[in-house]
C-alpha cells in the first residue's frame, strides 16, 4: 500500500512545494538511493551483462532488465563502449494499476510533475516516478565500473501507459543509433536506456 500512499504524498507535496519542488525532492531521493546501494566493479562488458541478466547489479532493484547485447555502442575506434538495456514493464505500471483498483483514478499531480519535468529538464517522462528513476540510473552508473571505467547512463526512450512513446533526440544523437531501431524496441519494451563508458569518444557520423 506504500506505493498507492505515495500518490497521495505527491499530491500533498505539490500543494506545499509545487511541481518543481517535487522534482527537486525526487532527484535528491534518487541520488541518495543510488549512493546507499554503493559501488560495483566488473571485469568487462560480458561479466556486467551476465550480472544484469542474473539480477545482481544495482539496476536490478528496478525489476527485470534485458541487456540487448546485439545493440552494442562503439566509439570512434570501433571498440565496444556500451550497450542498450531495456525493461519490458515500467516499474510504476503496477502502482498505476493498483491505484486504479483501489482509489479509482491516478492523481492529476502525477501528470503535473511529469509535465514540469518534460518542459524544463528532459522531455521523456510519463509519470512522476520517471523523474526519480532517471536521476537514480544516472547516479548508479557513476558507481559502477566496467574494465575500470565508470559508466554513464542515457535514457533513450519510454512508452507510456496509453501507448504513446517518447524518444530522447539528444541522447540518441550521442550514441548514434537510428531512431527506427529504438521505435522497434518500444513495441516490446517500455523503457530503453544506454550504458556507456564515461568519457568515451563516440562516433559522430
Amino acid at each position: 500500500m506504500l506505493d498507492v500512499a505515495l500518490v497521495s504524498l505527491i499530491e500533498d507535496l505539490i500543494e506545499k512545494a509545487g511541481a518543481d519542488g517535487v522534482i527537486e525532492f525526487w532527484q535528491r531521493v534518487g541520488e541518495n538511493l543510488a549512493n546507499r546501494i554503493g559501488k560495483e566493479a566488473y571485469m568487462g562488458w560480458t561479466s556486467f551483462n551476465v550480472a544484469v541478466r542474473e539480477g545482481r547489479t544495482a539496476y536490478s532493484i528496478e525489476g527485470d532488465v534485458t541487456p540487448l547485447t546485439d545493440m552494442a555502442i562503439t566509439d570512434v575506434d570501433g571498440d565496444v563502449v556500451g550497450y542498450i538495456y531495456a525493461m519490458k514493464q515500467c516499474c510504476y505500471l503496477p502502482t498505476i494499476l493498483r491505484v486504479r483498483y483501489s482509489v479509482g483514478e491516478l492523481s492529476r499531480a502525477d501528470k503535473a510533475v511529469a509535465q514540469e519535468y518534460n518542459e524544463n529538464f528532459h522531455n521523456i517522462a510519463w509519470c512522476n516516478f520517471c523523474v526519480f528513476h532517471e536521476r537514480f540510473r544516472e547516479e548508479v552508473a557513476k558507481n559502477i565500473t566496467v574494465s575500470g571505467n565508470p559508466l554513464e547512463c542515457l535514457l533513450i526512450a519510454t512508452r507510456g501507459f496509453d501507448g504513446e512513446t517518447r524518444i530522447s533526440g539528444k541522447n540518441l544523437a550521442k550514441i548514434n543509433i537510428n531512431s527506427e531501431h529504438v521505435r522497434a524496441l518500444l513495441r516490446n519494451y517500455e523503457c530503453v536506456y544506454a550504458l556507456i563508458m564515461r568519457g568515451s569518444r563516440l562516433r559522430e557520423d
Binding site: 500500500m1 506504500l2 506505493d3 498507492v4 479509482g104
Partner: protein, 205 residues
C-alpha cells in the same frame, strides 16, 4: 476464511516501495520524528478518504467481501477471519519492500523505528516501525467508511509482529477487553502470532 477466490490487486514493484522509504527518510531529516509521524498519519487518512465508501446488509456479507479482497479493508493485504470479529493478516503488505530494501541497500534506517516509538507513546503502542503507522491509521480511517446493517465498523489493533519477530501488543489495560471482543483467548493470540503478521479487531457499534 481463506480461499482461492480471494481477489487481489496486482503486486507493487518493490522498487517503488524502496523509493518511498527513502522519500520518507528524506522527509524525516527535514521535519523530525514528530513531523514524520504526523505526516504518515495524514498520508494514511488521505488515502482512506480517497477510497470509496462501502455498505453491507449483514456482517456475513462484509466478511465475505473481506475474504475476497473486495473491501477497502482488504485491498492491500490478505485478511483472514479467525472469528467473526478477529482478523489476521498472514503476511505484512510491507514485507516484500522491506526485504528488497535489506537486500539492496542494507539495514533499515533507524528513523523508521524512532517514529514508531513516538507513535506508540502518543497514539497506540502497536507499531514496530513507520510502516505500521500507515497501515494502522489507514485501517482505522477506512473502517469508518464501511457500514454494516447501517452501523459504522470500528477497528482496534491487537498485536503486530514484524518480519524479524519483534512484537507489539495493545496496552495491558486494554488487551483483555479487546481479546474478549475478538472472541479469542490470550493463548490463542500467542498461537496466532506464531503464524501471522497482524491480529486485529473489527466490530460494529
Amino acid at each position: 476464511m481463506e480461499g482461492p477466490e480471494h481477489v487481489r490487486v496486482p503486486e507493487s514493484n518493490p522498487f517503488v516501495d524502496v523509493a518511498t522509504h527513502l522519500f520518507l527518510e528524506d522527509l524525516a531529516s527535514k521535519v523530525g520524528t514528530g513531523g514524520l509521524n504526523n505526516y504518515l498519519i495524514s498520508l494514511a487518512n488521505n488515502l482512506a478518504a480517497r477510497m470509496p465508501e462501502e455498505e453491507y446488509a449483514s456482517w456475513d456479507e462484509f466478511l465475505e467481501a473481506m475474504k475476497r479482497g473486495q473491501s477497502i479493508l482488504s485491498t492491500f493485504e490478505e485478511v483472514r477471519a479467525v472469528t467473526p470479529n478477529c482478523m489476521v493478516t498472514p503476511h505484512s503488505p510491507f514485507e516484500r519492500g522491506w526485504r528488497e530494501y535489506a537486500k539492496r541497500i542494507g539495514a533499515f534506517s533507524k528513523v523508521h523505528k524512532e517514529v514508531a516509538e513516538y507513535y506508540n507513546a502518543k497514539v497506540r503502542p502497536t507499531a514496530v516501525n513507520s510502516l505500521h503507522i500507515i497501515l494502522q491509521t489507514f485501517r482505522d480511517a477506512a473502517s469508518r467508511r464501511v457500514k454494516v446493517a447501517g452501523r459504522p465498523v470500528r477497528y482496534e489493533q491487537i498485536a503486530t509482529v514484524w518480519v524479524d519477530g519483534e512484537r507489539k501488543l495493545a496496552s495491558p489495560d486494554r488487551l483483555p477487553a479487546l481479546l474478549k471482543r475478538a472472541g479469542i483467548t490470550r493463548t490463542r493470540l500467542g498461537m496466532l502470532l506464531r503464524n501471522n503478521a497482524e491480529v486485529w479487531l473489527l466490530y460494529s457499534e
